[in-house]
Structure formats: structure tokens, C-alpha cells
Symmetry: C2
Subunit: 244 residues, 2 copies
């Protein structure tokens, strides 16, 4: 543990994309007593059905929420990246209704729920910011419901790419039009309610019509306007505010 400990700076940046924080707020967040952990890919951080424990901050890396049917099918609910808070969704609930798992190497910070509660009492403005964060997550769920219900494969995958590109760029992870997907095609299939085979076909179609280029998992958006049109993408649901 000689390497520098990652702190909650990415989380602060994330919150500041939709909430104004004071210097005091920032320092209170940074002062939170938390347990750092560095984990590999495919690690289960929260397990569906478990009692809710500490609150997990994803400081660096990629993760995803998912839940399964009794007959073993898996549905991914959302993807997460640097600065996202992974279980505010369970903050006031006794039992986890879904699981959270890493996609890549990741730096985590675990904070006790009582510490979070105390922080929110101490800094009402921060409580607001956290609440707002969960509401934005819920808005993303709603957009995914629209995707799954009313968009075809081509549109849905394009939409996922647009969302990931936009969120990455906001989180200052690389460029908007060229990035590496952290997930396999099977993850994409589980996120879009499709099969791997059809994900593959659809990615090929998007490539052939000139919207994107791919080399292994690297995606190059060749024609952003066209991709947005195919996706019917309107970033309003991300509630990024007027500023960057």
C-alpha cells in the first residue's frame, strides 16, 4: 500500500457536474473516513438479496448493476465509471434488490452508512447533491426502459454508445469520439436485452454504414451526428446542466 491512496476527488467532480459545492462541502467529503480497496475485474461488490452494508464509491474504473431472473437470465441495469457512487440506490433500504460488479480493475472507497448519514446532517447541501445524484440515476433507468421497450437493436446499441461516450467525456476519460469499451459483447447483450450474436451483427451493421469503426474493443465514432440520429439520442436525461 505504498502507492498514493486514491481520494474522493473524482466523486467531487462528478457531483459538481450537477450540484454547486462549497469549499467546505468539498473538504468534508474528502475528510470522510473510508476504507480503500483496489480490486480486479468481475468482482461482486454488492449482492442481490444481501442486507445493505457500507456505501461504495467507485473512484476509478468501470462497474455495472445487474439482476437476474429465476431461470438464469441476466439483465444489466446500468454502467458506472470514475466518480460514480455505487449504492446510494440502497442508502435508505434494508436489502439489496440487485447486484453490482466490476468490469475492470477499480479503485474503491467504502464508507459506513452512518458516516454518510452524519455527513448529510452536517452538510445539507451535500445531502442535496447526493439525492440529486440518485435522481439522475433514476432518470437514466427511465431512458433505458424507453430503449428496451421502444427502440430496435440498431437504435439501442447506438444509444448505449452515445450514452457511454457522453458520460466518459464528462468524467474526463478520454475523448468523445474515440474510446475503448470496457465491456464484452455479452455485457452489451445483457444490457440491451439481446443475444451476443445479434449484438455482433448490429455492431457490424453500424460499422458498415459508416457510423463507427472498431478495432477490437476500441470504438471510433466516425459520424457523431449520424450515430445520434440512429440512436434518437437526446442527452437531456443525463441532467448535465448547461455548463460542461
Amino acid at each position: 500500500m505504498s502507492q498514493s491512496l486514491p481520494d474522493l476527488l473524482p466523486v467531487i467532480r462528478k457531483l459538481e457536474r450537477s450540484s454547486a459545492l462549497s469549499e467546505d462541502d468539498r473538504s468534508k467529503l474528502l475528510a470522510l473516513p473510508g476504507r480503500h480497496e483496489r480490486v480486479g475485474p468481475a468482482q461482486v461488490l454488492i449482492r442481490q438479496g444481501d442486507p445493505v452494508g457500507d456505501c461504495c464509491f467507485l473512484v476509478r474504473g468501470f462497474a455495472f448493476r445487474h439482476k437476474g431472473t429465476r431461470c438464469g437470465k441476466r439483465q444489466i441495469i446500468s454502467f458506472h465509471m470514475d466518480g460514480d457512487i455505487l449504492d446510494l440506490q440502497h442508502l435508505k433500504l434494508p436489502q439489496a434488490d440487485h447486484s453490482v460488479e466490476t468490469l475492470s480493475d477499480a479503485d474503491l472507497v467504502w464508507v459506513g452508512r452512518s458516516e454518510i448519514e452524519r455527513l448529510m446532517k452536517d452538510a445539507p447541501n451535500l445531502a442535496d447533491a447526493l439525492w440529486r445524484d440518485t435522481l439522475v440515476d433514476a432518470s437514466i433507468y427511465r431512458e433505458w426502459i424507453l430503449n428496451l421497450g421502444r427502440r430496435n437493436a440498431r437504435s439501442q446499441i447506438a444509444h448505449l454508445l452515445c450514452e457511454l461516450a457522453t458520460r466518459r467525456s464528462c468524467a474526463d476519460i478520454g475523448e468523445t469520439d474515440r474510446f475503448e469499451l470496457p465491456m464484452t459483447q455479452e455485457h452489451i447483450a445483457d444490457a440491451t436485452g439481446m443475444t451476443v450474436v445479434h449484438v455482433n451483427r448490429t455492431l457490424r451493421a453500424l460499422t458498415e454504414e459508416g457510423a463507427i469503426e472498431r478495432h477490437s474493443r476500441e470504438v471510433h465514432v466516425r459520424d457523431w451526428a449520424r450515430l445520434e440520429t440512429i440512436a434518437d439520442f437526446d442527452p437531456a436525461y443525463l441532467h448535465l446542466g448547461s455548463g460542461a
Copy 2:
């Protein structure tokens, strides 16, 4: 306005299904200054894209959230009934990312956002209860994502019936195994990502295999266990707690 004004009692009952409220909390809620309104079906209460205004409590009646694609397709995000709070989802956000509309006659109470904010500052326990309420809504969104992505038409419609029956029964609206659907088959289609035609076929299939009976919009669950099995229904996601 000579008829008795509906108060927020159904809302209190709803909150108490997952949060413990003190006598003080209850009276503070009831003392909220609000504007009562009785509206008919198909009234738009919140419009996607509008700035967020007052907070709407659905005291009696049915409503639903929805959003649309640019090419005019509609997706229903959730259904709501007596006691549900309709736009906590927008409480901390500047702009509505979806619309809310009534399904039936309804009694509403509109409360200013600043009043809500003051209430939450006054009664932290109530703030908790409201926050918890939004988290339960988010959990329902997640289950719907699973439905849309990974369950077939038969299972999905059965799941919707199970959810409605369970929530109605918790809200003390009639019995669990016999109730009237407040929505048309087109609403069901927009909620499950299907077409009206296929909703109709699927309802017939559920009837023919003896799971339910229907007379116009009245549904009689003939075999609850079988319907739950078809639906792969596990009410944990509703976070109803151990008690009723």
C-alpha cells in the same frame, strides 16, 4: 368546492408501508399548505421538457409516467395509484425528463417545492421517508428493465398483473385476486414494449391456460401461484418490509 377536501392521509399510509412516522411527522404532513384539484382521465400533470414546478401528490386515482421517442413511439415507465407522490423524481432537478398523466378520475394535491424543502428541514425523519420512497420507485424501474429485457410477453404481462395486484392490495384498494384494470390494452402495450394486438393475444393465452379470468377490464386471478410462476414474480423489489 363544497365536497370534503381530500387530505394527504393516503400518502401517509403509503409512506408508513416502508417508514415509521411519528405522530408529529404525520401532523406536519397533514398541515402542508397544498392546492387541491380534482381532474378527469388523460390529463397531463407533468410534461417532459417543462421546468419542474410544484410537487404533485396523487391522493386518489390512477396515473402513469411515460416518455416518447422522436419518431412518436410511447413508453410507459410506471403506474401509480392512491397515495403515490408523482414527482419526487424531479424534486432536485430543474427540468422534467418525462411526462405524467392520469389514467382515471383523480384527486390531486399540489404542494410548492419550497414547502417540501421546508418540511424536510423541519422533520428529518420525513425527509428520510420521502427519499426512501424515491428509492423504491427506482427499484421498480430496475425490475421493469429486467422485464423488458429478459422476459417474454406472457411472463411480462403476468408480472405486471402481479405487481398491480400486490400494490393495490397494499394500498387497500380492493382485493388481491379480483380487481379492475384502470388502463386500456394500449397502455399495457406501451408499458411492456409490445403492440396492442400482441397484448390481446397474450391476455387470451393467460385466460385459456386458466391463470386468470376477464370480463371487460375486470381481472380475476384464478390461480395466483401459477400466475406468480409464469411471471417469475418476487415482490422483494417493492421493498414492502416484513409487515403488511
